[in-house]
Symmetry: C2
């Protein structure tokens, strides 16, 4: 069993002191270029890997990044979203030699102890679910001087680096699409109360309708919770009673509940009632009819957030920019009323000739 190679070995090999080797390896500008090169070569030749425990103990930086998310299983939305987010973050972290730690937001003590011990080099914090808890996190992060990036909109009043998807814009463009199709009485089925994503979807959707001259009375709000069941129920309660001709559900899952309700009651989609969702889940192209929805670049969100964080770590700069990613409206059969066109659309989706 060969001994692990240490900084000392590298230093000896390069003919310098461990101190110099240490500096050279972290690109300290005080080291001469030739020395730095020599050390780099030696490290390479010996296949040197720094011992993180030692580095950490003596005040060095950690190569761990922590992604803090709300419960992975709570809402039906979450699994899809967070798996993509984690994948994007992990991939990017790995490319830069970092490792990704996952923490549940509600387990704050565990996280804070990590922070107090400076065990993580940076933090990705998903926000928008529990402002006061999130404020606690931000406070602790600041105190620990640990770089962080917020995923979602930052709690108001603070300026942090944050990144989010333009949810309002996505919902707005969907409203414009509905307007083009000429729908007159529209049902919106929300996610859980106080969920900022759901609120933004409602806000953007209403904004888009207003811009197209709709009146408040043409938009009906139903409380939902992101589940298919809540979509089914809201459809059941409102579609007939309120003469609804189009439904925008805050989530594809919820839209699926609406489609199921319509199927069970012989209500033709989209000809009697148009339906749209949000998220572009895996299956959205394969419901019947295929579901109009908004694609969110969640994987890219994970990537960019991590890249920004690594930037902040390396430059120890505290920027407070906001980065916004654009979603994409995906129009499918469930919201396009021209029957023939819809059929053709289906055909092309499924490669039917």
């Amino acid at each position: 069993m060969k001994k692990r190679v240490t900084l000392n070995d590298v230093a000896t090999h390069a003919g310098v002191s461990p101190a110099t080797a240490s500096r050279a390896l972290k690109n300290d500008s005080s080291v001469s270029i030739q020395t730095a090169q020599r050390v780099a070569q030696s490290a390479d030749a010996l296949n040197y890997l720094p011992n993180m425990a030692a580095r950490l103990l003596s005040g060095g930086a950690s190569d761990l990044i922590c992604l803090v998310v709300p419960s992975l299983t709570g809402q039906t939305l979450s699994r899809f979203y967070y798996a993509s987010l984690i994948a994007g973050a992990e991939e990017t972290a790995h490319q830069h030699g970092y490792h990704l730690l996952i923490k549940n937001k509600k387990e704050s003590e565990g996280f804070f102890s990590l922070l107090d011990q400076q065990r993580v080099g940076g933090v990705l914090l998903r926000v928008g679910h529990n402002r006061s808890l999130e404020q606690d996190y931000i406070r602790r992060l600041r105190r620990a001087k640990t770089p962080f990036v917020l995923i979602g909109k930052p709690p108001s009043g603070k300026s942090e680096f944050s990144i989010h998807i333009d949810v309002i814009g996505g919902a707005r463009s969907l409203a414009h699409h509905f307007a083009e199709q000429g729908y007159r009485r529209i049902l919106f089925i929300s996610g859980p109360k106080r969920n900022s994503d759901s609120n933004d979807r409602y806000y953007g959707f209403r904004l888009g309708l207003t811009e197209r001259g709709y009146k408040d009375s043409q938009l009906i709000f139903a409380q939902g919770d992101y589940t298919p069941e809540s979509g089914f129920r809201a459809a059941q309660e409102h579609i007939k009673r309120d003469g609804i001709d189009a439904v925008f559900a805050a989530t594809d899952h919820t839209a699926l509940g609406v489609i199921t309700y319509c199927a069970s009651r012989n209500i033709a989609v989209p000809d009697e009632v148009a339906v749209a969702g949000y998220d572009d889940q895996d299956y959205a192209a394969y419901t019947w009819p295929a579901l109009t929805t908004v694609y969110q670049p969640v994987h890219e969100l994970g990537r960019h957030a991590t890249e920004q964080l690594l930037n902040a770590i390396r430059n120890s700069q505290t920027r407070s920019d906001t980065m916004i990613l654009a979603p994409t409206l995906v129009i499918r059969g469930s919201s396009v009323r021209s029957a023939k066109r819809a059929i053709n659309h289906q055909k092309s989706v499924y490669g039917i000739g």
Copy 2:
């Protein structure tokens, strides 16, 4: 800014040496009970948290657990599955004071360096996708003497601790259900080639049919890849040509493609063709008709795997048991041929009748 409290502080407070305090805190049997209690109280009183970097550097054990998964985004199956698995593992790890690291299996160098440096206390390795790579992992894990638990069936010939869901049993019980319903010509749509899960679903399903007296010629195999699209295509190719009256898709996603195909061709489900999937995705209860499927306790899988790993870490015992979790057959409307009602629904829903 208050100084961090160290082992030394605890030792002083308890009136013992740091060495004794260290031993007491890790329940070394050589410490007297009274001393151990006193130290524990002091640690409590001072709110002591061990410095993991220091512990690690001096040969102590890590409080990190690493979960190694194949790509989180590759197959459509994966997101649902891995988000649940991660959630179960994270939750359990946290309860025991451990932190969870996520690694992509294909990024093996990063993982191996973690291993070589003894930075992780234990590893959860998801297997069943790439035997030779997985063998490499196991070899390195053994060499590093790092405790690990395999999630999935272990590569043959080796005895390791492993845990998996009884996929064969789940598919078998679904076959029995199909037999009860009296279906005569059955289409199976697989996942990707060489995917062990998919193979097990096929194997178990065929076994179940054989047990009920079916002949080989009554079961038709179609190659799929877990996507809805592959379900649509396989249905298109086989259902009419081969006179299929029931379809078992290796995944709910794929089953959804089959249902969509049937809807697009006015084929009544389940009255003309019964459909079943596997996984019990969030939406399975909300397709039309609701999808018969097999629920897999993935969250529990994550929990149990982590618990077993922590056991192995604490007792430094090398067990080689296999733990098997039972799936649950969930019978819904898509496979139960009861009614005129269903036919009428179908007709009106899709504007036939």
